[in-house]
Symmetry: C2
DNA sequence: GTACAATTAAAACGAACGTTTGAATCAGTT
DNA sequence: AACTGATTCAAACGTTCGTTTTAATTGTAC
């Protein structure tokens, strides 16, 4: 039979993935060596190349196993929203909650590595490594299409270009909120309350405020009344 | 005399700095080797260690030369705002514009490497490398103190914790807007209008919308009227 | 033009990297 | 008990890394 995956120790693969995930967050991809990963995982150095083929393939699998589930949840939530709404248009806030809420819920999970992974993911959006960027873009393509489409329908009067930009801004705010909280020491010691559970409402309020902000008038109009309102 | 800096070719230093800046954005710190830097700069391999001491010291100097000027501008603009206002409180929007506007202006400068540097800076906020984080935190400490203080006085009714969080969110949105626009291929091909000059009003509108959003009520209050307004 | 200090140049250093190899070990089948 | 294929293991592979060393070269003051 062709079941080449697991024989007697299927845990070796996941031990490697867990160790890699943690170390990637801590040191980045380049600065994390195979020897660091395998020694932390308690497996032989050659195990990574045996099970995954290469370091790049390992990086890819670290993202794939978590991202597949996250994006599945996102799409399921959007499906449910659209089913409930019937033919009525969706509220932008619900769409945003479906996309960013699921991510924040994963980021709040400190038990099963969700928090670790979301820190890694947030940082990776700006990763210079070309192959990682390429892979992320492919994983996200479908989900982005669906959610952007939903937002376009939800805000028919707002130029799509603007919706795109604001989605971009929202992703940035969320990524930094997660990746930067303990990573960057800029605000170190300043946060009395870094509870991930409270991050959710805080961030969501900020995101929706930004999404609903009046559209900028590019100094095109001579400032008659400072732009119109963007959304509900 | 004790002028050990420059003798007959002071350009070697800056050639190295420029090459390093560009390559760091393109490949990251770890993946950029000394040999890549020196060959792109057209100088000898040993020149970096001679002029800067080490690769880490070079990284530090790449940031220092630009960041010193940026933060000087930021503080000067805040000084001017406070001088104009006299004893009257500053509008939050003006404070935000002073901090993020200067950064965006630098990011819009594609002639003298400002755009390149801002992409690098944005990415570096989440850099795992400990010494880079440490250095950034030190460079920013004074500026953050001043601007956060100004915001606290400008929004006396908003809990400082919330202002801190929103400043954090705003930095994230800006960093991604700059670092992610051409770096990440997530939205590749989707932007018809990626003009850096138009990014400014777009982002500023988003940031102020987020800053002014109603405060989240952490399900603590039983949702009497859905939180109060945050700012002017 | 000779002495001097700053800079550049070419070559080599040991260390660490990702990967490969070939033998040992294991579980299950016959 | 012998065989088989999957997995683990220790060791080594060639390459690249940041840095150091030592010599050649440069511009300037005496």
């Amino acid at each position: 039979m062709n079941a080449p995956a697991a024989r007697h120790t299927p845990e070796t693969r996941s031990r490697i993935l867990d160790a890699a995930e943690t170390l990637f967050v801590e040191h980045g991809f380049e600065a994390t060596s195979m020897r660091m990963i395998t020694s932390q995982a308690g497996v032989n150095l050659a195990a990574v190349n045996y099970h995954f083929g290469s370091k790049d393939a390992l990086i890819q699998e670290v993202f794939r196993r978590r991202l597949a589930e996250l994006n599945r949840q996102r799409l399921a939530m959007l499906d449910q929203l659209e089913a409930e709404a019937g033919s009525a248009p969706l509220k932008p806030s619900r769409i945003v909650e479906a996309f960013f809420g699921t991510a924040l819920a994963l980021a709040a999970d400190t038990e099963h590595g969700g928090h670790t992974f979301m820190r890694l993911l947030g940082r990776t959006y700006t990763e210079p490594n070309a192959f990682v960027r390429q892979f992320l873009a492919e994983e996200y393509a479908g989900v982005l299409e669906r959610f952007l489409g939903a937002l376009y329908r939800s805000l028919p009067d707002v130029p799509r270009e603007e919706i795109l930009w604001r989605f971009h801004f929202m992703m940035g705010a969320m990524s930094y909120a997660i990746a930067g909280t303990d990573a960057l020491q800029l605000f170190a010691g300043k946060f009395d309350d870094a509870d991930p559970a409270r991050l959710m409402p805080r961030l969501m309020s900020f995101l929706l405020g930004g999404l609903r902000a009046p559209l900028a008038d590019f100094a095109a109009k001579p400032a008659t009344r400072r732009g119109g309102r963007a959304a509900a």
